[in-house]
Amino acid sequence: MATLTLIQAVNDALKTAMRTDPNVLVFGEDVGPKGGVFLATDGLTKEFGEKRCFDTPLSEDGIVGAAIGMATNGLKPIAEIQFQDFIFPAFDQIVSEAAKLRYRSGGQYTCPLVIRTPYGGGIRGGLYHSQSGEAYFCHTPGLKVVIPSTPYDAKGLLLASIDDPDPVLFLEPKALYRSVKGEVPEGRYTVDLSTLRTAREGTGVTVFCYGAMVPVCLRAAEQAAAKGIECHVVDLRTLLPLDEEGVIDAAKRTGRVVVVHEAPRFCGFGGEISAILAENCIEWMEAPIVRVTGFDTPFPNTLEHHYMPDDRRVLDAVEHVWNY
C-alpha cells in the first residue's frame, strides 16, 4: 500500500477509473498538458490521450452544460472546476439542470456526472480562491455532495462518486492537498456515499466537521483530552444525502454538540445539523448546540487565519458546552 497525499489520491482515483472504464473522461480549464493548477490531473492526457483528458474554453457554464449532455448520452464525464469560487457561472446548469433532469424527465434521462473542485481557505487566496460553498449545493435536491478529509477517503469516495448514477459534486479541501498523507490501497475500492466516519471516539463532546476542518478538530480534541474532555469527532464526508441516523446517534452519545465549518455561519451547513438535532433529539441535549464557523463576511486575505476556525476556537466551544 502506498502512502499518498490527498491530491495524489485524487489523481490515483482518476487514473484507476479511466483505466477500467473507457467512458470516463476528464476535462476543464488547464487539466490537459498542464495537469491542472494543483496537478490533480497530472499525466492523464499523456496516458489516455486528448480525447479523454482535455482543456476546454474558459466557461464553467459550458464545462458543466457539456458534461450534462455527455452524461445523458452514455459517457461518464468528470468535470474540473478550477476553484470552487468559479463554479457560480455553472450554477444554473448544476441546480436547474443536472439536479433536476432525472425528475423532470420521469426518469427517462439521467445525469451521472462528477464535478470535482478544490474548496476552502488556507492558501492566502482572498475572497475568490478560498470559499466553501457546500451549503448552496446541499440545498439542492437531486445532487450529492461529497467532501473527503483523508487520502483513503479521497480515492474511495471519488471512485464511488464516479460509479454513482446521479450527479455528484466532489469538493476537495485544498488546504489538505499536500498537508495530509495516508495509506491508500492500489486499484479499485469504494467508500459508501451515505455513511459518516468516526474520526475519534469520545464520550464528552460530539464535534461534527468535514474536509479541512477535520484535522483542526482533531487537534482541538487532543488539547481537550489534555484537559480531561474526550471529544467524539465525526467526519461527515457525504453531506448530501446525509447520514442523519448516524448524526443523531453521535449527538446522543454525549448530549453536547459543537458543529464546525469554514463557510459563513448564516444559513450554512451547520444550521442543518443543529436543526436535525433540535427536531429529533432536543431532550438529549445538555448544552446549547454551538457552531464554530467562518464569519458572515466575505473571505479576507491577510487576516484569513483569524477568519478560519482554528483549534483555539474549536477548543473554546468544546469547553463552553462541556462546562455548561
Binding site: L75, P89, G106, T110, P241
Partner: protein
C-alpha cells in the same frame, strides 16, 4: 451563404426556385399532414386552456414549417434538444397526440409523471426528444455534450438543438456555440427567429445584422433560411446535418418566421404586436404556401386540407378523451426520481405525506403506505 441573404425554395405561388428536392409523394404528404397535426393539436390545446381544462399551452401557428422542415431532415438515430415550442418535431417522428396530451394534462400516464408544466415533453422513442426545460438556452450546450459522445463513439449521428431568437442572448448559446466550434461537434443549431421573445422584439434582443451572422463569432457557417418555407428549412438542415456527419463541424441556421399567436396562453399579444405586421405575415402562412407547391405537383387540392384537418382534430379529440380519463399521478411520484434510489430523508418525508393523506382521506395517496 453569408448569414444575411435568405434562402428559400418555394416561391409564394408554389413554384420552385432553383432545384426541386424531389421528395417522394408520401414524404411530402407526411410533412403536410404533420403541419396540420401541429395546428390541430395547437387549436385543441388553446380551447382546453380557455375552458380551464388544462393550465397552459404554447401556440405554434405560423411556425409549423420551421419545426416540421427541420424534423424532416433528421434520422431516428439523431437526437433533438428541443425548445418548448417544438410540438411538430415530435409529431413528425411518430410521437402520438395521446402521449403528448398526457403531458398537457400532467396525468399519471405523462412521461414526465405530472412534474412539469404542459408542453415540457420528454420522449426517448421513436426518437430521442430530450426533456424540455423551462430555463432558456441551457440545453444548447448540453446538445454539444451529447454530440461529443457521438463523436467519441465514432457514431455517424448528429444533434439538432432548437431555440428561439431570445435564446441567442442566453449563456447556453454562447458556451454551446463556442464549444461546438472548438470541438467541431456534429450539431445543427436551429434558431427559430419568430421575431419575439414574449413581448420583446429583435431590436431589443441584439444589434447584430441577423442571428445567423452570429455564427462567425464561433467559426462556423451561418445560414439564413425562410422559416415559412418547409422545404427550404428541410434542405438547409439536411445539408448542415451532412456536414456534421462528415466531421466538418456545426452550423447555425436562422429560420426567419413569425409567431402568429401570443407567446403562451397567458399572454395578450395585442398589447405589443402591431396589427399591420400581423396582417402582413398572415399572408405568408406556411401551410398555404406548401399547399401551392403540392398543388403544382398535383398532390393537393381542396377539400384535402379540410379532410386531413378533420382527421387530425378527431385524433387529437380522442387523445383528449384518453388523457382526461387517466387518473393523476400517484403521491409517490413526488418522491421518486430525485435520485436513482430514494435516500432516507426523502423516504421519511414521503412516509409522512402518505400518513397525512391517509389520515385526511386523500385520494392521491393510493394504497396508503409509502411504496418506495
Amino acid at each position: 451563404m453569408t448569414g444575411t441573404e435568405m434562402f428559400s425554395l418555394i416561391k409564394p405561388d408554389g413554384a420552385v426556385k432553383g432545384k426541386d428536392p424531389k421528395l417522394a409523394p408520401d414524404e411530402l404528404l407526411h410533412i403536410y399532414r404533420t403541419m396540420l397535426r401541429v395546428r390541430a393539436f395547437d387549436e385543441v390545446c388553446m380551447k382546453l386552456q380557455r375552458s380551464g381544462r388544462i393550465g397552459f399551452s404554447i401556440p405554434n401557428r405560423g411556425v409549423e414549417a420551421t419545426q416540421v422542415g427541420a424534423a424532416a431532415a433528421l434520422r431516428k438515430t439523431d437526437w433533438i434538444f428541443p425548445s418548448y415550442r417544438d410540438f411538430g418535431m415530435a409529431l413528425y417522428h411518430g410521437v402520438t397526440p395521446t402521449e403528448m396530451m398526457h403531458t398537457m394534462y400532467g396525468n399519471g400516464a405523462d412521461c414526465a409523471k405530472g412534474r412539469q408544466m404542459p408542453v415540457h415533453f420528454t420522449f426517448t422513442d421513436p426518437i430521442k426528444f430530450f426533456s424540455i426545460s423551462s430555463p432558456i438556452g441551457t440545453h444548447i450546450v448540453q446538445a454539444v455534450g451529447a454530440a461529443y459522445a457521438m463523436q467519441y463513439r465514432k457514431e455517424k449521428h448528429a444533434v439538432l438543438a432548437s431555440f428561439g431568437d431570445g435564446g441567442t442572448s442566453s449563456l447556453g448559446f454562447h458556451s454551446g456555440l463556442n464549444f461546438a466550434g472548438v470541438w467541431k461537434s456534429p450539431v445543427v443549431f436551429l434558431c427559430q427567429n419568430n421575431q419575439w421573445a414574449i413581448s420583446c422584439p429583435s431590436s431589443s434582443q441584439t444589434a447584430s445584422a441577423s442571428y445567423a451572422i452570429k455564427a462567425q463569432a464561433y467559426g462556423m457557417p451561418g445560414v439564413l433560411v425562410d422559416g415559412n418555407d418547409v422545404l427550404a428549412v428541410r434542405q438547409v438542415t439536411l445539408e448542415a446535418l451532412e456536414r456534421a456527419r462528415k466531421g466538418l463541424g456545426p452550423t447555425l441556421i436562422e429560420a426567419y418566421t413569425f409567431r402568429m399567436g401570443g407567446h403562451s396562453t397567458s399572454d395578450d399579444p395585442t398589447k405589443y404586436v402591431p396589427k399591420k405586421l400581423l396582417a402582413e405575415w398572415e399572408k405568408k402562412d406556411p401551410v398555404t404556401r406548401f399547399e401551392r407547391y403540392l398543388a403544382k405537383k398535383k398532390l393537393w387540392k381542396q377539400p384535402l386540407r379540410d379532410k386531413i384537418y378533420a382527421e387530425c382534430l378527431d385524433e387529437v379529440g380522442d387523445a383528449v378523451k384518453i388523457a382526461e380519463s387517466t387518473p393523476p399521478p400517484a403521491l409517490e411520484t413526488i418522491f421518486s426520481d430525485v435520485y436513482a434510489t430514494v435516500p432516507t430523508h426523502i423516504r421519511r418525508q414521503g412516509q409522512a405525506a402518505f400518513d397525512l393523506a391517509a389520515r385526511k382521506g386523500d385520494a392521491a395517496a393510493g394504497g396508503g403506505a409509502f411504496p418506495l
